[in-house]
């Protein structure tokens, strides 16, 4: 052997051979790793993955539940709603978590019936950077939609002044900030706009990653990205999760609800939105509660869900999941308020109970 052997032709040939070998090797490849398994010492390990919005409360639940059940260890990875759904479908997680319900199409492609278990409620708030404006801004679905469509360009637009007669709004260009990444927050936000503005419905519609109007506003990644952009840019407006806004003491706008009231986002007004929509909750619990009925209801609210297979492959693991879900939606709810989530209304807890009771392993009910 000598050095001349390794000429570029040989390298290319080697590359091609390697490609062929790998293309066989990769044909059954999967993204992500396998779900948690039985850990040594007889203890169980569960792997959950999904939405980042409920991460603070899920982590609290995992740690509190772990204290009461030292033999069960749960890992929750906040990979995002989309990744949570993907992980459940690929069975790389024992449970998924998502802010928006799974689509009919995805449910069909799942290898078994998937249950949606609502856990807590959240809301999307509009935060803004307006110097000299002390009282909260009042917005409607129509004005928000016009801002994000580029129809309302300046803060002192007549349409904004009409709803805010007491505020001196500046003669400045509005900079709308939106989520550049796919997000449950955007889904809830655009769902509300689609319900309240026909213009929005036809031009953009409801989506986790809507097609924003080119030339209007800037995109930022994550709640913190949107917050950073709004905080740093005078005359900007953006939307973030309620928990996030509360934790960072951001100014938030009052939003007009279906009953015509301007409502502040709070745990009470979110709970009112949930109460106003319980009657119309479908059997599979997949629902949107934006623009809900009720004078006190905040209109941009939503449930967040844990996703599990109804029929569990492993009885021991299935039992652990059932125990965790039951504990979370009962004892666990008391941790919600401190973390700025609205707990489930009692009627919804009832519906959740029947879902958890329906879970089986090998045809046998997991909760006795």
């Amino acid at each position: 052997m000598n050095g001349t052997m390794f000429r570029s032709q040989n390298l290319i040939a080697l590359f091609l051979i390697a490609s062929v070998i790998l293309s066989f090797g990769c044909s059954g490849q999967k993204l992500g790793e396998g779900p948690g398994t039985t850990a040594p010492g007889g203890s169980l390990q569960l792997q959950g993955s999904g939405a980042s919005f409920p991460k603070p409360i899920y982590e609290k639940w995992v740690s509190e539940f772990g204290k009461a059940n030292p033999n069960i260890r749960i890992d929750y990875q906040a990979t995002g709603s989309g990744a949570g759904q993907k992980a459940l479908l690929a069975k790389t997680a024992d449970f998924g978590a998502s802010d928006d319900p799974m689509s009919d199409e995805d449910l069909k492609s799942a290898g078994g019936e998937v249950l949606h278990i609502p856990t807590v409620l959240g809301a999307v708030v509009l935060t803004y950077n307006l110097e000299g404006v002390k009282e909260p801004l009042k917005l409607t679905g129509q004005t928000i939609s016009d801002i994000y469509l580029g129809n309302i360009k300046k803060w002192n637009d007549e349409r904004l002044k009409k709803d805010n007669p007491n505020l001196t709004l500046p003669d400045a260009d509005i900079l709308p900030v939106y989520r550049a990444d796919s997000s449950g927050t955007s889904a809830v936000f655009t769902d509300f706009l689609s319900k309240t503005s026909p213009d929005w419905k036809t031009k953009v519609g409801m989506n986790k990653q809507p097609s924003w109007i080119t030339g209007v506003g800037v995109g930022a990644k994550g709640n913190d990205g949107v917050m950073g952009q709004v905080k740093q840019t005078p005359n900007a407006i953006g939307y973030v999760e309620l928990t996030f806004a509360k934790a960072n003491s951001l100014p938030t706008a009052l939003v007009k609800n279906k009953a015509g009231q301007f409502v502040e986002a709070s745990l009470e007004s979110v709970a009112a939105a949930a109460a106003g929509s319980v009657a119309s909750m479908p059997d599979d619990l997949r629902t949107q509660i934006t623009d809900a009925d009720g004078a006190a209801a905040y209109p941009i609210a939503s449930y967040t869900y844990i996703l599990v297979y109804k029929e569990q492959a492993d009885a021991a693991k299935g039992k652990a999941i059932v125990d965790f879900l039951w504990w979370a939606t009962h004892e666990g709810e008391k941790f919600a308020k401190d973390l700025h989530y609205a707990p489930l209304p009692a009627e919804v807890v009832k519906k959740v109970e029947s879902k958890i009771n329906s879970m089986t392993a090998g045809g046998k009910a997991l909760r006795q």
């Binding site: 080697l14 995002g80 990444d181 030339g215 990644k221 990205g225």
Partner: protein, 307 residues
């Protein structure tokens, strides 16, 4: 020294071969995996994927052009800003600075290279963007506002901010490599030039000429980092897939798009489109590097030196 013998050499060669092959396997593995996963959109959109200017995942419309444009423009912008600065620092360190000053400056340049990109991004949002909005933007607009590049609304977030952040990030890399390259130029050349009565400036141009291929290599390395940078760009570029003449307008790059969206992509077509645009990034990097290599060879042969 112990005798290793012929067998030892064979083992040595085998180990080296293994190491060299591993890089081929890794590149091939990534390539194959990406092509496989991008097949749905490659088949569906064909070559139009490269030239479409609308990126609307919700409507399953995928055009990579605004991202290719954003990637190239932001990277070129970064090079325009960074290359003169990096060259200046490196020449100063090697040719002019007394040891007592050169050491701390070199140390600080290396320190810059170790800062995580998310920190650059945060700095971009909280320091650079307001600075551009309040000072740099209005000044540029005041003097150069007749050029379309500097027209439009200055929000502090956009292509220019992205380019400047990238420039800061690649400066340490280019500086470090150029410094090593300049140090490798034999001192005898400098002495010869000085002995012939050349000034410092003339001597430096001779040294730079001899180091040209190495300097070009350093620039390519910096360019590679600029093209592939994700987080810091995402945080300041505005993430809007549009092709605008103005540097103040928001834009987006391929790497930034992937960073912001890959984790949340559930839809199969969308995922495939994202992987395909990753493949496009592969291609763009390949073309840019090949182009740079040709440039390097040209410079090297003009200077009568083998690359």
């Amino acid at each position: 020294m112990a005798q290793t013998g012929a067998l030892g050499d064979k083992i040595f060669r085998a180990v080296l071969l293994l190491a060299a092959t591993s890089i081929l396997l890794i590149v091939a593995g990534i390539f194959v995996m990406m092509v496989q996963n991008a097949m749905p959109t490659i088949g569906r959109f064909g070559i139009g994927f490269l030239f479409g200017s609308e990126w609307k995942p919700a409507q399953e419309e995928f055009g990579a052009l605004p991202f290719i444009y954003g990637t190239l423009v932001s990277s070129v912008l970064a090079l325009i800003i960074s290359v003169p600065i990096s060259l200046g620092i490196a020449i100063f360190l090697v040719e002019q600075a007394p040891k007592g000053i050169a050491k701390p400056i070199a140390f600080m340049v290396e320190l810059l290279a170790a800062i995580p990109s998310v920190v650059y991004g945060l700095w971009g949002i909280f320091v650079l963007a307001p600075f551009i909005r309040e000072y740099l933007g209005p000044v540029l607009q005041g003097y150069l506002g007749f050029i379309p590049l500097f027209q439009g609304r200055v929000t502090g977030i956009g292509m220019l901010t992205g380019g400047i952040i990238l420039a800061l990030m690649i400066t340490p890399i280019i500086t470090a490599v150029v410094r090593d390259v300049l140090e490798a130029v034999p001192t005898t050349q400098r002495e010869a030039a000085l002995a012939l009565g050349a000034t410092k400036w003339e001597t430096t141009t001779i040294v730079l000429g001899n180091a040209a291929s190495g300097i070009a290599g350093a620039v390519v390395l910096g360019l590679g980092r600029a093209i592939g940078e994700t987080m810091a760009v995402t945080m300041v570029i505005g993430n809007s897939p549009q092709i605008s003449a103005s540097l103040f307008e928001p834009a987006n790059t391929i790497a930034s798009l992937l960073a912001a969206n890959f984790a949340e992509a559930t839809d199969r077509t969308y995922l495939s489109a994202l992987i395909e645009i990753g493949l496009v990034l592969f291609l763009v990097t390949f073309v840019v590097n090949a182009f740079a290599k040709i440039l390097v060879m040209g410079v090297a042969s003009r200077n009568g030196k083998a690359a």
